[in-house]
Point group: C2
Chain length 360, copies 2
C-alpha cells in the first residue's frame, strides 16, 4: 500500500508569529481527531506533528523566516476526496489568515511513495520528474544490469537500464539523431552498431539496404525484453540474430573492436549506442573516462577515412561532462574533428547532445 | 531560506518488525544529537520524529505492510555534504539490515520548498516535474492573469501564464505545429492570430510574406514581457504594433470576431493560440466549453471556404478533454472536419495534441 505525500507551502513576505496562525490550524486538525505533539525547536519556529486515524500524519512548520510548510501523509486507500477537501480548507483559511503577506502558495501533486509501479525517474541532470507509467512489463536482472520495460501512457513502452531512461517507443528522434539526423545514405555501406540492444537503430538502418550491419550487444536479456515489448521500436529485426544484411553479436564490444583492428577492417558508419557508462566484461581501464576513450580509440581506428562515427553525448545541462568528453576526443591516437547537435528526445524530459566524429 | 526535503524509501517483500530495525537507526540519529519522539500510531506501524539542531527534522516510519519511509528536512544553508553522508549511512545500514527483503530502494532528488525561484511546474496531466529554472526575469499581474518569464538552462526563457508553461524559446516545434506543420504556404494570404502574445507565430508568419496578418492579443503586459525577454521567439515583431504586413490589436478577440462576422470578412488561415481557458472581458457563456465553442463558431464563420483553422488542443494524456473538444467541433453552426497530430514540445514535458479544422 503506497503512501501519498501532499505538501502545501506558503512563502511569506515577513515572519509570522505562531500565536496568530496556529490556533486556527489546530482546530482543523482537532476536528479530524488527530493527536498533536508540539516539538521544541530551540527557537527555530513552530513545529507540531499530528497523528490521525488510518495512518494519517501531518507535519506543520511555521519557520522563523517567513515560510509555512504543511506535509500530509496518508495511505493510498484513504478517502482521497476527504483529504483534498482538508487541504482546500487549510489553503483557504491560511489565505485569509495570512492575507497581504503571501508571496507564493505552492501545492504540488502528491508524491506517491512505495507504490507498486514506480513513476519517478529523475533526469540525468538530477531533476525530479514523474512519468505517466502505469505498468511494469519486464523487470529482469542480467549479469550486467537491471532491465525494466515500463508502459508510459504517452511515450509507449520505455526501456530503463539501471534506473536510466534509455529509449521509449516515442523516441524515433533519438534514433534519427544518432544515425546522423536523416542526412546520411546507408545504402551499400558497412555499418557497426555498438550496443543498441533495443533494436531501434538496426530497424531504421536495415530499411536503407546497407551492405552489412554488425551490431554488438552484450546483453541477451535486453534483446529478449525489447523484441517482446519494444516492437514499435525494433519491428522484427531482433527476432533473429541474422538477417539479409545484418548480424547481431551478443558479445562484449571491446574484444570485437580489438579483433577488427587486428584484421584491418573498416566501417563507413560506426554508431556508438552504449550506455553512458559502458558495460564490459573486462574493464581494463581504471576510470570511466579512460574506458570511454579506449572504445573511442578502437572505433576510430576501424573507421573508414571518409567514415562517420555517431554517438550520444549527455544531457545538454551537463556542460562539464560534455567538455570532458570533448577533451577525450582531442586525445585519441588518431586526430579527429567533431560536431554536435542538441535534440529533444520525447521521453527524456531533458535536451540531449549528440556527436558526429570524423577523421581529420 | 528554502527547505530541502529528502526522502529515502525502502519497499519490502514482507512486513518487518520495528524491534529489529529501529535501534540501529536510533543510534544514528542520536549521534546527530536529535531529540526523539515516538508516536502512538494505534497499531499502524512505528512512527518517530527527530528534531535536530539547525532546524533539521527526520520522520521515520516503518509501515505495517512492508514499507519504510524516511523524510529528512533541513534548511538550504545547512551542510549538504554532511546530510548526503547521513543519508548514505542510513541507506547502507538499512540495506544490510533488510537484506533479502528489499524490493526497491528509492532516494529522490530533494524537493526544494519555499525557494526564491520556484522550479516546480506540474504538467497539464498533473505530474510533478522539476524544471532547471534559475532566474525570474519578469513577474507581473495584469488585469487578466499572472505573467512570469523564467529562465531555464536548457529551454531558454519560458513564458508561464497563471502557472501554466506556455512557450519557451526552445519551442519552435510548437509554433510550427500550430501553423500547420510546415506544410502551408502563407505567401499572399490573409491570416488571423487569436492570442499569440509571445509573438512566436507572428515572427514565423511574417517571414513568409502573407498579404496581411492580424493578431488579436488581449494582454499588453504579455507583449511587454515577451518583447523584452522572449526575443529568440518573437524577434523584433512585437517592437511595433504595426509592420509591413501585420497589425497587432491589443483587444479582446470576441468583439473583434463578431465585427468581422458582421463585415463578412474572411481569412485564409486562422490560428487560435489562446490559452486553454481563454480570457475575455465579457465571457457571456456559462461554461468554458460553451465559451470555447463560441470562439470556434465565430472563427469558422469568417474562415474562407478553402481556409484552415489551426489550434492547440491539450495534453495527449487528457483523452477526455480531447474528446469533449472534438464533440464541440461537431456542434458548430457550420459543419467542419478536422485532423489532429501529436507533437513533442520541448519545454512541456508531455506530448501535445494540435488540431487542423476546415469547412466541409
Amino acid at each position: 500500500m503506497a503512501l501519498r505525500h501532499y505538501t502545501l507551502d506558503f512563502s511569506l513576505s515577513t515572519a509570522v508569529d505562531s500565536a496568530s496562525t496556529v490556533p486556527v490550524l489546530l482546530s482543523i486538525f482537532h476536528e479530524q481527531e488527530m493527536t498533536e505533539t508540539v516539538h521544541d525547536t530551540d527557537g527555530r519556529g513552530y513545529l507540531a506533528t499530528f497523528v490521525g486515524k488510518n495512518g494519517r500524519l501531518v507535519i506543520l512548520r511555521l519557520h522563523a523566516h517567513g515560510l509555512l510548510t504543511i506535509d500530509l501523509q496518508c495511505y493510498e486507500g484513504d478517502n482521497i476526496a476527504q483529504l483534498d477537501s482538508l487541504l482546500n480548507t487549510l489553503e483557504k483559511k491560511l489565505k485569509v489568515l495570512l492575507n497581504g503577506k503571501i508571496t507564493r502558495v505552492k501545492r504540488l501533486p502528491p508524491l506517491i511513495r512505495g507504490a507498486k509501479v514506480d513513476r519517478y525517474w529523475p533526469t540525468t541532470d538530477g531533476r525530479l520528474t514523474e512519468y505517466d507509467i502505469d505498468r511494469v512489463l519486464y523487470d529482469e536482472d542480467s549479469a550486467y544490469q537491471n532491465i525494466k520495460i515500463l508502459h508510459s501512457q504517452q511515450f509507449g513502452n520505455m526501456l530503463v537500464l539501471n534506473g536510466d531512461v534509455n529509449l521509449a517507443e516515442s523516441d524515433l528522434p533519438y534514433t534519427e539523431a544518432i544515425m546522423g539526423g536523416g542526412k546520411e545514405d546507408y545504402a551499400g555501406k558497412e555499418v557497426l552498431i555498438l550496443g543498441g540492444g533495443d533494436g531501434g537503430i538496426l530497424a531504421q538502418a536495415v530499411k536503407q539496404k546497407p551492405k552489412m550491419i554488425t551490431m554488438v550487444e552484450i546483453d541477451q536479456k535486453v534483446i529478449d525484453g525489447c523484441k517482446k515489448y519494444m516492437r514499435k521500436t525494433c519491428g522484427n529485426v531482433l527476432d533473429n540474430l541474422k538477417g539479409d544484411c545484418y548480424q547481431i553479436l551478443v558479445e562484449d564490444c571491446v574484444p570485437v573492436l580489438k579483433k577488427y583492428v587486428l584484421e584491418g577492417r573498416t566501417f563507413d558508419y560506426i554508431i556508438n549506442d552504449l550506455t553512458a557508462v559502458p558495460i564490459s566484461t573486462e574493464p581494463e581501464e581504471d576510470s570511466t573516462w579512460e574506458f570511454l576513450r579506449l572504445i573511442l580509440d578502437l572505433s576510430i581506428k576501424i573507421l573508414h577515412p571518409k567514415g562517420k562515427y555517431f554517438t550520444q553525448g549527455n544531457s545538454a545541462n551537463l556542460t562539464e561532462a560534455l567538455s570532458q568528453y570533448e577533451e577525450q576526443l582531442g586525445r585519441l591516437s588518431c586526430p579527429v574533428d567533431f560536431s554536435k547537435k542538441v535534440v529533444c528526445v520525447p521521453s527524456y524530459m531533458e535536451l540531449w547532445v549528440f556527436y558526429t566524429v570524423w577523421k581529420k
